[in-house]
């Protein structure tokens, strides 16, 4: 560090570029103190007394009175350690070199500054110039005191108890709260009224079927933690297993009733039975299974539902399965045909009457959507909605059930994964759609929680070969897995 300090003409107002030296208030050899006025400078706006930022002895005044000086030019040199012997020659040389660089730049003789990079901007930006350092160690700007360097170190904290607990694994984040002021808040405000729990805990409770209102919270401010929910869930589980709690009265057999009851076989039950027997014992059934990640399709449902075309309509997973089946039929037409044993012919249907197996108060029925292959997706949704509503009311007519060509049975609504369905008589294929579950699944090379379902297809092996049946089922699965494939084949 040089003991000779130069003071450069600062910007005395906003955007000032030059000033005139009106009057020197010190002479060479004078002692100056930090803050002592040394020069009077006239700017475009006013005459200003400029104070010295250094304490020492004036060694040089660079300009005579009456000279106009550019901002950033050195105007005075001060020896800040006048008592410490002769001035080092190197000191002077360094000063001169720096000064020459400044003057060269101002007079336009400096090398052009259009290089993409400054190899060492520290050296090219002079102290006091924009981007250089100020006397107080800030970065100089044209307007303002300059930019202060910040320290990337945390200040000491007042209270050691406020130091956060070291990062904990996710699973026990709730119980890891050790902050002192929270503990006092808990005692000061005992939990009352609405349940306190953070969102992921609420989700967990919902998933486990735990009612938060019945759980006592042990977390901060009386909030319910994951552990509380899990404890409540396991208590409920063991209660329902009957080991600890008595069986609910409604589930108990009436001791005074008959031990058996007999019902006449009639109506839908009788029809169902004969159809199933006929089908099972005439068509040789083959059933194949496929498990598919339908996360994207499930996400697509809500976007579809938001479209004006689906206003008032339900975009159910079944709707998309139905649509996928219709598209797959187009690609594999032979599955939509009938074995006509009497005529010794296979009847290929160029239309699809899509049967939907429905559990009704009257029993299992299979109404079908006529010419379903001709319907747009919103029309199909409307038809599906109408079919379900009519079936639920028990008003399905025999005409609604006649003429089916292929069927879907949606056992997923009962929470089961899949089955081996029996063909609706006269048809060659039936698709069984299982429950969509959150499952661990390998996605993009990693285990992830994905929405996964299982599909199975029973087909009449007289008409449909293993290859065709497999292709048909794989096509449906591919479309349900990837909406883009769905779109491409539709």
């Amino acid at each position: 560090m040089s003991r000779i300090k130069e003071f450069k003409l600062p910007d005395l107002g906003e955007g000032l570029t030059e000033g005139e030296i009106l009057k020197w208030l010190v002479a060479i050899g004078d002692e100056v103190k930090d803050g002592q006025p040394i020069v009077e400078v006239e700017t475009a706006k006013a005459a200003v007394e400029v104070p010295s930022p250094f304490t020492g002895v004036v060694t040089k005044l660079y300009y005579a009175e009456g000279t106009t000086v550019d901002v950033g030019q050195p105007i005075i040199a001060v020896d800040t350690a006048p008592g410490s012997g002769p001035i080092d020659a190197a000191d002077d040389v360094a000063q001169d070199r720096a000064r020459q660089a400044v003057q060269a730049e101002l007079s336009g003789t400096a090398p052009p500054s259009s290089d993409v990079v400054d190899d060492n901007p520290d050296e090219t930006i002079e102290e006091g110039k924009i981007g250089g350092k100020t006397s107080s160690g800030r970065t100089a700007v044209l307007v303002g005191y300059g930019i202060k360097d910040t320290k990337a170190v945390r200040r000491p904290r007042r209270d050691a108890a406020l130091t956060p607990a070291p990062a904990k694994p996710h699973s026990d984040r709730d119980s890891a709260v050790t902050v002192a002021d929270h503990a006092s808040e808990v005692s000061a405000h005992p939990s009352a009224g609405a349940v306190k729990a953070k969102p992921p805990v609420r989700k967990l409770a919902k998933d486990l079927g735990v009612h938060l209102a019945s759980v006592a919270g042990t977390g901060p401010q009386g909030s319910i933690t994951r552990d509380d929910v899990q404890a409540a869930a396991s208590t409920a589980m063991s209660a329902s297993n009957g080991h600890l709690a008595p069986v609910a009265p409604s589930a108990r057999r009436a001791l005074d009733g008959p031990r058996e009851e007999r019902f006449p076989i009639k109506g839908v039950r009788k029809l169902t039975a004969s159809a199933m027997v006929q089908s099972a014992f005439t068509a040789p059934h083959v059933t194949e299974f496929i498990t598919v990640d339908v996360t994207e399709m499930m996400a697509m449902r809500s976007r579809l539902g938001a479209l004006p075309d689906f206003a008032g309509l339900k975009v159910s997973p079944l709707l998309l399965v139905a649509k996928a089946l219709l598209v797959a039929v187009k690609r594999n037409p032979m599955v939509n045909s009938t074995w006509d044993d009497a005529a010794q012919e296979i009847v290929l249907k160029h239309y699809v009457n899509l049967g939907i197996a429905a559990a009704t108060p009257r029993g299992l029925i299979v109404p079908n959507i006529k010419d379903a292959d001709q319907l747009s997706l919103p029309e199909l949704a409307a038809a599906l909605g109408a079919l379900t509503a009519v079936a639920r009311e028990g008003k399905t007519s025999p005409a609604d059930m006649a003429g089916g060509t292929i069927t879907i049975t949606n056992v997923g609504t009962f929470g089961v994964d899949n089955g081996t369905p029996i063909l609706n008589p006269g048809e060659s294929a039936i698709l069984c759609f299982g429950a969509v579950r959150d499952m661990p699944w390998v996605h993009d090379g990693e285990i992830a929680i994905r929405q996964v379902t299982q599909l199975s297809l029973s087909f009449d092996h007289r008409v449909v070969d293993g290859q065709l049946g497999s292709q048909f089922l794989a096509d449906i699965a591919a479309m349900l897995h990837d909406p883009a494939t769905f779109l491409a084949w539709s």
């Binding site: 981007g131 700007v141 956060p164 990062a167």
Partner: protein
Amino acid sequence: MAQITLGKALNEGLRKSMETDPKVLIMGEDVGKLGGVFRITDGLQKDFGEDRVIDTPLAESGIVGTAIGLALRGYRPVCEIQFDGFVYPAFDQIVTQLAKYPYRSGGHVRLPITIRIPFGGGIGAVEHHSESPEAYFAHTAGLKVVACSNPVDAYFMIQQAIACDDPIVFFEPKRRYWEKADLDTAIHPDPLWQARLLREGRDVTLIAYGPMVKVALDAAAASDKDGGPSLEVIDLRTLSPLDMDTVLASVNRTGRAIVVSEAPSNCSIASELAARITEKAFYSLEAPVLRVSGFDTPYPPSRLEEEYLPDLDRVLDAVDRSLAY
């Protein structure tokens, strides 16, 4: 590869845009002969002439109004608003004309105008020189708003903004103009409308933009050094539209989010992020989204600005508050 300051990177980016497209003009107060109060346009008038680098009168409304006229005639103006607090006279032109003209014309008329605004405090300046007005513009449909935080982004984002056919308000972190970084001009830059994950962490996501990115990174490093929580840092880069995919992916991982911004928190970018994160990642949130911001006061006199500006300690205090839930 050598180091370059953020200010110089902007200068080089502007130069590159002017070389690439002869329709690019620069206009503003003192941008020509002086090279701008922060020297961002230094040397450009000398090399491209007074017709392409235009010293305007001190009239921001006129600068933007004239730019709109020039854009209608096929030019691609880059306006410099000298300081954040000077933009308000131009607010009428920006909101009622610039943002709406493309809509008014059914998209037939495009206004490829970039408005550069040095923003934020930290330079010890007087009032009107340290504000963070980005929310006004993000709130206005028809404008895009971006903020760079480092020299590499500054170099590429200014060129991408100028090349964009929509009006863009381009915020520059003035207290970071002299921050340096290695710049390789040959790399393929990220798209303009994408936030960037700068640092991975497990416990809390810090979301920042412009001058606060450095504060967030410093806080994450300090926490790491102290053996404290592991902090993830996202540089938003684009304020309108917001890149929620990047933000939500992070928050879904960490379960905690803190937005760091110099602007007052009331109706701010930080507030908008808090609302969207709560809406889209509700079941992932272990704590409410916290905002570390300037206070809801006018920007204070410079001797008080260190109290006003979010710093490493305020960020880490918020981290403690978040983890206490």
